[in-house]
């Protein structure tokens, strides 16, 4: 099975209306492609949650965590996902008033 586990936290739960889901991928699919297609499926520009108009992460960009590792958002196109990987979409960490 070419599936990966997608976990959703914070506002991503609202966007997808669920906590987690399994998605099928072709081996070697880039993270950028997965994010773009997920966004298309729910009718939002999901990429803009992570990358600003200038192509750089914003000050408080959301996070993508793959197998416990935080992904460099500027290199989503070079991050290839393999079946069995665990992807988390999460808001940035908040702290200290």
């Amino acid at each position: 099975m070419n599936e990966v586990e997608l976990e959703l936290v914070g506002r991503f739960r609202e966007l997808f209306k669920r906590k987690s889901m399994r998605i099928s991928i072709e081996p070697g699919t880039s993270l950028l492609k997965i994010v773009t297609e997920l966004g298309r499926a729910i009718g939002v520009d999901l990429r803009s949650e992570f990358i600003g108009p200038d192509g750089k992460p914003m000050e408080e960009s959301s996070l993508i965590i793959v197998n416990g590792r935080v992904i460099d958002l500027t290199r989503m196109g070079e991050q290839f996902i393999k079946p069995g990987d665990r992807i988390v979409l999460a808001p940035s960490v908040a702290g200290g008033g």
Binding site: E7, V9, G10, R11, R13, K19, P57, M58, E59, E60, S61, L63, I65, N67, G68, R69, V70, I71, D72, L73, V88, A90, P91, S92, V93, A94, G95, G96, G97
Partner: protein, 616 residues
């Protein structure tokens, strides 16, 4: 000079006398306000801090607002309190928000300094120019919430804001805090206990004056822009979920401390998550004066604790929840209420109870030591009972926990020091030690002990900008930069939740100039931040702090994390030493962590250079 009131109160509690000091332009430009004023004044007023018992009349208790308090500036209504900390024995400092700072400043004062000790319990009223020390005999022993209501009733005026201590502060519990408007606290370093030692129950303030600003048109325009940014993505998480949104993110990153920092994930994280809390427990979301964000999520407990109401943020939720193995939001809401009303810091409280639970499970503490309490992880009733006894110093368990985790572990011995998660005596907050290693460096070198609020160094770890499971020399620069920026933020004093709203230090300097009329650039204000940080460090050096004190606890080096996603993560000692060297180099300090004379002179700190500075 606008923005500032230009004067502060000096209250001699021993003699019951009041006098006044002036805030001049040079003081303002060099130290900004808040943290800067407090550091400068504590250093000057306590020439030999190592010889001062924090509970003695010789300790000074200093309250400052910043230049933004009482103005329309977004999220700038904060005040800070300073003293030698009874918990850490070094520079003690805490910040609170709400309405208090705005009223205080509108009364025409920038700050108040308390010296000596009152013979009998008193509280201070500041009603514009009318300053009065009143008897607190009828409110001594009351909770913080009762105290607030009783003082307003006694003064016959609901518009007074009240900052008070609870029974814990009166009993000089070393974790005691100061509370204003029920849910806002000067939480850390045990400054409530210093109030208790001075027989000072509360400060009540009411102001009717406008705080004048230099360029009202420019300020209105700039604030409108900032407020609009505050409604954008940079602050959305605070507005919707509040900081409890961190629970699940940290769990997914393996940096959610659980079972007294033995692990970095919690198997019941979903049950205590911000997402769950919003759905089942949050009844109200509250904003501080002038804040366009509104982050304060007020919970109402159900079932066994129906009727309990408390404000639950990430740190409280985490330390009293997963760190103690607790999975019930009702219990956590009740635990926060106990801490808030009796008056202790939830972070330190959750940390020290977590330590005691680990000691109990390891057989180091027995039922004899806990007065019969089955102090195991996940025991809801045991947590609540331990907190209550700690706040009231009741029995052997209460007396032990009231000392804070460092002293408690030294009292118990038997190797329990190894499980005490603190730095310089301040209990570690809710960021895992080994899976956020830049953060750990930032906590460990902080001026007030294990501190998540002085550098924001966890941000590079959680954003994936560095390898968070390793350290290297470059991390020192990250912590150094963060500390200088946060020193500015804490001196202005402005809420850190707006840090993503300001695009540069230049914008903070612009805000300062619009309010005060004093010319300031981004570079100059950052230099002031560096100056302030160094003054506080010099105070600590006088207290005996050196390199030996800038390390995380043993667990960081000795106990690899067991959680799958960060399995085996541990801090390598040689990497830590390298990162610490890198930090000292950036700071211009010696390898022993003492500021060099030349650095202090470069910052205009000639007194510190002479008294503390060392040659290269």
């Amino acid at each position: 000079m606008k923005g500032y009131a230009g004067k502060y109160l000096i209250i001699d509690l021993t003699r019951g006398k009041t006098s006044m000091g002036r805030v001049d332009e040079s003081f303002a430009l060099n130290y900004i306000g808040g943290y800067g004023f407090g550091a400068r004044m504590l250093y000057d007023m306590m020439p030999k801090p190592a010889e001062v018992d924090p509970f003695s009349p010789e300790n000074v208790l200093i309250w400052w607002t910043g230049p933004l308090a009482g103005t329309i500036s977004s999220a700038g209504n904060k005040y800070a309190v300073f003293a030698k900390s009874p918990l850490t024995g070094i520079f003690g400092f805490g910040i609170s928000s709400g309405l208090f700072a705005s009223e205080f400043k509108s009364a025409g004062w920038d700050g108040v300094v308390f010296t000596g000790r009152s013979e009998k319990p008193v509280y201070l009223t500041i009603d514009d120019e009318n300053i009065e020390l009143r008897s607190a005999s009828s409110i001594w022993g009351r909770t913080t919430w009762e105290t607030e209501e009783m003082i307003k009733e006694e003064l016959g005026d609901e518009s007074f804001t009240v900052a008070s201590i609870g029974p814990a502060g009166e009993r000089m519990v070393r974790l005691a805090n100061i509370t204003n408007e029920r849910n806002r606290q000067v939480g850390r370093c045990g400054l409530g206990a210093v109030m208790g030692s001075k027989n000072l129950k509360a400060v009540a303030a009411r102001g009717t004056k406008d705080v004048e600003v230099f360029d009202i048109e420019g300020l209105v325009k700039f604030i409108a822009e900032l407020n609009e940014r505050c409604q954008g993505p940079a602050t959305e998480k605070y507005r919707v979920y509040g900081t409890p949104a961190n629970i699940l993110v940290h769990d997914k990153l393996g940096c959610l401390p659980s079972y007294n920092f033995q692990r970095g994930t919690f198997e019941y994280a979903e049950e205590v998550s911000g997402e769950m809390m919003l759905k089942t427990h949050v009844k109200k979301i509250v904003a501080c004066a002038g804040c366009p964000i509104a982050c304060d999520h007020v919970n109402q407990a159900r079932e066994a604790y129906a009727g309990t109401v408390s404000s639950v943020d990430y740190e409280s939720l985490e330390l009293l929840g997963p760190n103690c193995g607790i999975r019930s939001l009702d219990t956590i809401t009740k635990a926060v209420e106990i801490c808030d009303t009796l008056g202790v810091d939830t972070i330190s409280a959750g940390n020290v109870v977590g330590w005691a639970m680990e000691c109990f499970e390891r057989g180091i503490l027995t039922k004899d030591d806990t007065d019969g309490v089955e102090l195991r992880f996940g025991n809801d009733e045991a947590l609540l009972e331990a907190l209550r006894r700690m706040c009231l110093k009741e029995g052997r368990l209460g007396m032990l926990l009231s000392e804070g985790v460092r002293r408690a572990s030294q009292i118990v011995g038997k190797g329990s020091e190894r499980f005490a998660v603190h730095c310089k005596g301040l209990e570690w907050a809710a960021y895992e030690l080994r899976s956020l290693q830049t953060s750990t460096l930032g906590f460990a070198v902080s001026n007030r002990g294990a501190d998540y609020l002085r550098s924001g160094s966890y941000q590079v770890d959680v954003k994936g900008q560095v390898d968070r499971l390793r350290l290297d020399k470059s991390r020192g620069k990250i912590v150094y930069d963060g500390e200088n920026q946060y020193a500015v933020i804490d001196s202005l004093i402005i809420c850190k939740f707006t840090r993503g709203v300001f695009k540069s230090m230049g914008e903070l300097a612009k805000l300062y100039t619009l309010v005060t009329g004093l010319s300031m650039t981004g570079e100059q204000i950052l230099k002031a931040g560096e100056r302030i940080h160094n003054v506080a460090r010099c105070f600590n050096v006088k207290c005996g702090v050196t390199r030996k004190d800038d390390y995380p606890p043993p667990r960081a080096f000795e106990d690899p994390l067991p959680d799958d996603i960060v399995k085996g993560a541990v801090i390598r000692r040689e990497e830590y030493e390298e990162a610490l060297d890198g930090y000292y180099e950036c700071r211009g300090w010696s390898r022993n962590g003492v500021p060099l004379k030349r650095k202090l002179l470069e910052l205009g700190l000639s007194k510190e250079a002479e008294e503390v500075g060392v040659e290269a």
